[in-house]
Homo-oligomer: 248 residues x 2
């Protein structure tokens, strides 16, 4: 089946309290892109964080001792480092101007996802408190406004070990199984697959990034044509259990 | 811009020596999908490995001491472990039935990419010797057959630390810059981006996976509408330099 990714244009700069679902539905209507059952709406983390008021004015942050020392070592703003540490449960690695942390959600990423890009000057954005819940709320509101059963993915841009560059991944989702499990299925040669579980939500986030980019102020996309299993479990289920994780 | 992903159907089981570019062009013609300049053709690793004869019959492999010991520990086939070790330059982690290695190409992945799925019984497929060169060869042949300037990505399915499931990533590419660098560009708020470099080839590989799946015998896809920079550098440039890598 053909997969299509439509960027959602004309969505204004997001301010705290704005209704993202309504903006998505309005944008899709303006672009004559009638939402369909089974569509996946991808909303970028930055837009969700802004709508949920997860913005902090840097000048109001007082860095502690640990943050100040680390900031000096990395030549970073100590107030920013303070926020990075507050948003983390564990520092995983430090180096090359980056603090790799484990966030409260269980994500391992640079700077706890705290980010100054695409935010008004002087402010930084923190990750949503519960991105799966953010996705659920958008999904419920789209259902109400457009009478369509969609899935929602909240995406963010993460680096990864061993490879340069970043890819967009899912930090929250609602309405679809994050993994497509092939366990027990046989390939055309009769070989039984055991561990094949594509992280569909991450691949959808990456596909959306191809159509939206970083500079055009496009905070959302519609991904159409993906066969997914409806499910109520979110991205939190993708966080690898401690005892299975070879890289803790 | 809309991004579209078309699975390429009707491509037969690949045998050593087959001309993948020709099969891709024929499949696109049959499905009335005229290739265009700027299209990205994604070909799965397994198809490339088969076409290049990178298949090994397990019964012809004699495991060494190290492989036999490791196989016992992991309850894996010692001949398979022998191949995994031969294809690696370094064992990164061992556990949960998986050997995470660094391959000769510099990729860190499970089992050196040695895989029994979608291969005839009794055989395993090894990664192509030089997937960037594989991509270049397909690209040149598509240019000759269809008179179109396309980019080519060779994709494989990799797990990742900290998160369950796998995503398709690029192990080879030709004709496009693997990273889209935003370094020095300003966001709509005037903030200068420093480290933002989406790994476009990986996101394209993931997008293709959404349209092809694992069980349908679809070894290739066309991804249309991605804005990329033409370049002659391949995926080898994505391998993180030793001194920058916090996770070695």
């Amino acid at each position: 089946m053909k997969v299509e990714v439509y960027p959602l244009r004309g969505i204004p700069e997001i301010e705290p309290g704005m209704d993202l679902a309504r903006l998505v539905v309005q944008s899709s209507r303006r672009s004559r892109l009638t939402l369909r059952n089974g569509d996946v709406i991808v909303v970028k983390q930055k837009a969700v964080s802004k709508a949920e008021g997860r913005l902090v004015e840097l000048r109001k942050v007082t860095p502690g001792k640990k943050a100040s020392a680390l900031a000096k070592e990395l030549r970073k703003d100590p107030r920013l480092v303070e926020l990075i540490l507050r948003e983390s449960v564990r520092v995983v690695r430090v180096g090359h101007g980056v603090i790799i942390t484990e966030t409260r959600h269980g994500f391992v990423c640079a700077n706890s996802g705290v980010d100054q890009s695409n935010v008004k000057p002087g402010f930084v954005a923190l990750l949503p408190l519960d991105p799966d819940r953010s996705a659920s709320a958008i999904r419920a509101e789209v259902r109400r406004l457009a009478s369509k059963e969609v899935a929602v993915v909240v995406s963010d841009t993460f680096g990864r070990p061993w490879r340069n560059g970043q890819t967009d991944v899912a930090i929250g989702s609602s309405g679809m199984a994050p993994l497509h499990s092939y366990a027990g299925k046989k390939d055309p040669h009769g070989y039984r697959l055991r561990v094949t579980e594509p992280a569909v939500v991450d691949e959808i986030a990456s596909a959306a990034e191809l159509a939206t980019g970083k500079l055009l102020g496009i905070p959302a996309a519609v991904v159409r044509g993906v066969e997914y299993e409806p499910a109520e479990v979110g991205v939190r289920s993708l966080v690898m259990q401690r005892e299975r994780d070879l890289f803790r």
